[in-house]
């Protein structure tokens, strides 16, 4: 049968065959005749085989568990294999499995103990840790335990420690484990080193003695002749695995303080570097791989210590040789390793000498992942001296770069150009080039940033206006260029209007020629530019009014465009020149904020890699050059508001203006600095969100988020159930805004604290508080914020969120600060609710009702009948259900007036399927809401949350 299956005549035939066999096995298991051990093993093994072919197996667990208690090794072994591969968190089974494991651990039979330990390590669940984390350390350090069992025990314990560190008790055994580094048996040392390394990372003090032991062990290995270690010599390299693990262990600690130990370690590292220069003892790739694996790990340690200039430079030279090696793997690794060397003050210069080779790699390497490393290295080695060359090469490469890495290169170029710009005309040119070459990959952050820098630097504004004007002459230019061009000309077009070739009318006609090819957000931005032109260039006012008045604007199907056209036209007609000038005053300089481009790059590369490099580099460069880099410091200080900041940026910016901001200038800000989707189309139109009111007069003076509306805290909290962004709290002093995003069981929330006064807040301390209950199910991480918040300023705080299991309450945000002489203390609920971890699920009507039936246990259903609090509008209801996070299923419910939704709540531990049904009764102004999920508490919570929405 196997032959048939693998030759795979057809998928259907295979499935048919398998189903037949599954039915056969099922009948055997269910049969009246008890199966003997051999048959049981046979069928369990077949089930495994079928599972490994990619088919689902939902039975046989019990039979496999039975095999565990067999006295025959072969039967036991298959039983354990089945359990390891097809773990099932069925609690009844886990108890039986744990029992069998306990017996085997106590059996004193090394083979059985080995099987049991392997199984614990393979499953590694919390239940297992609870049952065995206390037992295994005893086995590990007992004097009479066989070596092979010790090895398994060490790694098994490591696995449990990784999943449930809290369950592994520290104690006497830890000191004895350290001494396993001295064990006769290299296999035991190898296994123990892994365990010690992980433990040492969490408890460095307790395992400090491991350093000298590791150094002497390492020293004995690297100085041994290639045959001394017999079976542990791998292709003439003595114990490469153990060497690498020891070097890794040493990376948990700073350089040894004891000069003798330190000297010995330096000798080891030198020996490893020397050996790399020796002619190979074998031509086999395994020999060179193993040898270089140790070398690269040694270099990692050298970089980690970052204290021996001599070793660092030698490491760099060694890697330099690899840059041109014929093995692609070595070139790749050399580039990667050099990236970290570039951040050391001792080797930064040495790395820079390889710039030509690296640039060449960018041009000639055939493997995209190698080119990617070359880009990383160029980025890492960039400084004031070579920035122009590196940026030029990256731009060059961008023209042909693989799609997969374009966005990252764009971000890197943008960062370098800004960081090392001496001359801001170069910066402007570079960014416009970026847009020209890779406009699609230029994210919002990048073009927000260029606008911000231009606004903050007077010396470059005229040049920027001239350059964008010229760039816009191209018959086909990228929409991002139109955005930048529109914005910059709107602000600084007057600086070039003196030249008859770029007179106001020409500027306007140029921009307007692009208008019809652009998307809605860009067109909205252009309309704002036009109204700014009315102010800058009164001579073309009538032309602009004509455009605004045309049917395609005034009667535009898009609400936002139509509103802008109407309001701008009106503004240009009724407002006096003075008012117009105040309203449309030049943008004030942006407050200092962290670069959002950098944040984006970090996010792309994952935390850790970029952050470290950047931060180290920053420290280093100030070490090296003292204050020699004023512009760069300046440049990074003037940074972009993260686009997410903007909802609130709104609240903060107008404070610098004397006139009350009309909504039009407000929306200007919005469209440049927020993701327009959320600004233009609020997800869940609540009572205060309908600012798209047709009443012109009022809409012109009412600011966007009316500050005078005092919201009951709970009411505001509920508003966030169906949306992620907005103002959470506001009083005379403080405004708190939120912007958050969620994916599966993870989320990130940006909290913006805006000081609405002109006085500093002191000792400003926001704290997120979780009750004990909540702590176990919701994992929140925050960074402290600066304790001083200047008047009119805004600070941002990020909360990283992980949903471990379902939860009921919301965390509390407590804020304390001193304002004037008084102490302020306030608390609000932070709207992190269970439904944020919803993932919508589309399904057919049939599926829906089938699942609905499956969840018919009375505990799984929660129902609520309540009176409508808002007008019963079907469209708004739909938007709310979608905002709630579930999919809105159309044509499922036989009654079209009803709404049904489905989705999955993701938590770290489980996923919970959820179905919901909302039945409005218009006459009674009532709703009936029914939730069905596999978990009572979840049904309950979701029902509570959603009931408040209608």
């Amino acid at each position: 049968m196997c032959v048939l299956l693998i030759s795979g005549k057809s998928k259907e035939a295979e499935i048919k065959r398998i189903n037949k066999e599954l039915a056969n096995i099922r009948s055997k298991f269910k049969g009246d005749k008890a199966l003997d051990g051999y048959s049981k093993k046979k069928y369990v093994c077949k089930l495994l085989f079928i599972f490994l072919l990619g088919h689902d197996i939902d039975f046989g667990h019990m039979e496999a568990v039975n095999l565990l208690s067999s006295n025959r090794y072969t039967e036991k072994q298959i039983g354990y294999l089945f359990i390891s591969v097809l773990v099932n968190s069925n609690s009844e089974l886990i108890r039986l499995i744990n029992n069998a494991i306990k017996n085997d651990l106590a059996s004193r039979n090394p083979t059985f103990m080995g099987l049991a330990l392997h199984c614990i390590a393979n499953v590694g669940s919390r239940e297992m840790a609870e049952a065995f984390a206390g037992e295994i350390p005893k086995i590990l350090v007992a004097g009479d335990t066989m070596d092979s069992v010790k090895q398994s025990a060490a790694l098994c314990l490591l696995r449990l420690y990784r999943t449930s560190p809290d369950l592994v008790p520290m104690g006497d055994w830890t000191s004895r484990v350290v001494h396993l580094l001295n064990d006769q048996h290299l296999g035991v040392v190898t296994a123990a080193t892994s365990l010690i390394t992980t433990l040492a990372q969490k408890n460095p003090e307790e395992f400090k003695t491991s350093v000298s032991l590791a150094v002497s062990r390492l020293s004995r290995i690297v100085t041994s002749a290639s045959t001394d270690l017999q079976d542990y010599t791998y292709y003439f390299v003595p114990a490469p695995w153990l060497s690498v693990k020891l070097l890794r262990l040493l990376q948990c600690y700073p350089p040894p303080e004891d000069p003798a130990v330190r000297g010995r370690l330096t000798e080891c590292l030198e020996t490893i570097l020397n050996k790399a220069q020796e002619p190979p003892k074998s031509k086999k790739v395994q020999h060179s791989n193993a040898k270089n694996a140790v070398l690269f790990e040694a270099i990692s340690l050298i970089i980690h210590h970052d204290s021996e200039p001599n070793l660092l430079v030698r490491a760099c030279n060694q890697l330099g040789q690899f840059l041109q090696h014929r093995e692609t793997n070595l070139r790749y690794l050399a580039l990667e390793s050099m990236c970290t060397l570039a951040s050391s003050e001792f080797s930064h210069e040495a790395v820079k000498t390889h710039i030509e080779t690296v640039i060449n790699a960018l041009k000639t390497e055939r493997d995209v992942s190698v080119r990617q490393r070359a880009v990383d290295l160029l980025y890492a080695m960039c400084d004031r001296s070579n920035a122009q060359q590196i940026v030029a090469e990256m731009l060059n490469y961008l023209e042909t770069a693989d799609y997969s890495i374009r966005e990252e290169i764009v971000l890197k170029v943008a960062i370098l150009a800004e960081k090392y710009a001496v001359d801001y005309t170069w910066y402007v040119d570079t960014i416009l080039n970026l847009i020209r070459i890779a406009g699609d990959y230029v994210s919002e952050e990048v073009w927000y940033r260029v606008i911000q820098i231009v606004i903050n630097r007077d010396d470059v504004q005229g040049y920027a206006a001239k350059t964008v004007f010229e760039a816009l002459q191209a018959p086909a230019c990228h929409e991002n260029l139109v955005k930048v061009g529109g914005y910059i000309l709107g602000e600084f077009g007057n600086l070039i209007a003196g030249d008859p070739r770029s007179s106001p009318l020409i500027q306007f006609n140029l921009l307007h020629s692009k208008f019809h090819l652009c998307s809605v957000p860009t067109r909205a931005l252009l309309l704002s530019t036009y109204i700014k032109f009315v102010n800058l260039f009164p001579e073309i006012k009538t032309t602009i009014q004509d455009v605004l008045r045309s049917d395609s604007q005034l009667k535009n199907a898009d609400v936002e465009l139509q509103q802008r056209a109407v309001e701008y036209l009106r503004l240009s007609t009724i407002a006096s020149t003075d008012i117009l000038a105040t309203v449309l005053e030049e943008m004030p300089p942006f407050p200092e904020r962290e670069s959002s481009i950098l944040a984006k790059l970090k996010k792309k590369k994952g935390p850790g890699t970029v952050t470290d490099l950047e931060e180290i580099k920053k420290e280093r460069s100030s070490d090296m050059n003292g204050s020699a880099e004023p512009t760069s410091v300046n440049a990074s200080a003037v940074s972009t508001p993260s686009p997410s900041a903007d909802l609130l940026g709104l609240g903060a910016a107008p404070l610098t203006n004397s006139a009350p901001p009309p909504s039009s200038s407000g929306s200007l800000l919005v469209d440049v600095f927020s993701d327009s989707a959320s600004a233009v189309a609020p997800l869940a139109p609540g009572s205060d969100d309908n600012f798209a009111s047709p009443d012109l007069a009022s809409s012109e003076v009412v600011s966007e988020e009316p500050a005078d509306t005092v919201h009951d805290a709970d009411e505001l909290f509920h508003k966030f159930v169906c949306k992620n962004n907005g103002v959470l709290f506001e009083n005379q002093l403080l405004q708190i805004g939120l912007k958050s995003e969620f994916r599966q069981n993870l989320g990130r929330m940006f909290i913006f604290y805006g000081n609405k006064t002109s006085t500093q807040f002191l000792n400003f301390t926001p704290t997120v508080i979780c009750s004990d209950d909540l702590q176990s199910s919701l994992n929140l991480q925050t960074k402290p914020v600066d304790p001083t918040v200047d008047g009119g300023a805004q600070v941002q705080q990020v909360v990283n969120i992980e949903c471990v299991s379902d939860f009921m309450e919301a965390p509390i945000l407590n804020i304390q600060f001193r304002y004037g002489g008084t102490f302020q203390n306030l608390s609000v609920k932070l709207p992190i609710t269970l439904n944020k971890f919803f993932q919508p699920t589309e399904m057919s009507s049939q599926d829906f009702f089938q699942r609905w039936k499956q969840l018919s246990n009375p505990k799984q259903e929660v129902q609520n009948i309540f009176k409508a609090k808002h007008p019963m509008d079907a469209e708004i209801t739909k938007a709310k259900i979608i905002g709630f996070g579930s999919a809105l299923l159309e044509e499922v419910d036989p009654n079209p007036a009803n709404f049904v939704g489905a989705g999955i709540i993701h938590t770290k531990t489980t996923q919970i399927g959820c179905l919901l049904r909302l039945e409005p009764n218009l006459q009674a102004q009532m709703y009936r809401l029914t939730l069905r999920t596999s978990k009572e508490a979840v049904s309950q919570r979701l029902c509570e949350l959603l009931s408040e929405q209608f």
Binding site: K42, T74, A121, G187, A191, W241, Q286, N289, Y332, S369
Partner: protein, 160 residues
């Protein structure tokens, strides 16, 4: 400081046709997720041509792979881990299979998949290398074999 010790997250063996032959997970994931990952990785690796390096960045992890005859061996490791040594983990595993089966081929692994798993367990536990000595690892398997008939035998019985 590095946050992780050297650790393999999972090992996949698959044929040039993309058929999965062995999967070993050292981190706990739902089945659905595993299937998705397998599909994705098989596709990534099969689409790479021969002159490329043996390393691919994949999400937060790094894939290290090598082809032996018709089979691809692929390990996922931490980004900071030792790539070259991971290649040799793969090679040592192939050697162990070879020593046990005598000139191992894809069919050996298909028909004796449980042996392939047992050998792997002797070599690696929880993603960490346990025993690098070829002799010790193979001996452990051979000892246990004294009693055991091969799966091949009963797979060939008429029931299926």
């Amino acid at each position: 400081m590095r946050q992780q010790t050297w650790k393999i997250h999972f090992i996949l063996l698959f044929s040039r046709q993309g058929k999965l032959r062995l999967q070993k997970w050292y981190t706990t994931l739902p089945d659905k997720e595993k299937k998705k990952i397998i599909r994705e990785i098989v596709q990534i690796i099969l689409s790479r041509n021969q002159k490329t390096s043996s390393f691919v960045d994949w999400k937060d992890l790094k894939l290290v792979y090598k082809r032996y005859a018709s089979l691809y061996f692929c390990c996922a490791i931490e980004d900071q881990d030792n790539e070259l040594l991971t290649l040799e983990v793969v090679h040592r595993y192939v050697e162990l299979l070879d020593r046990y089966f005598g000139n191992v081929c894809e069919l050996d692994i298909i028909f004796n998949f449980e042996k392939a798993y047992f050998i792997l367990d002797e070599f690696i536990i929880g993603g960490e290398v346990q025993e690098t000595s070829k002799r010790s690892a193979v001996k452990a398997i051979e000892d246990s074999d004294m009693l055991q008939e091969t799966v091949e035998e009963y797979m060939n019985k008429p029931a299926f």
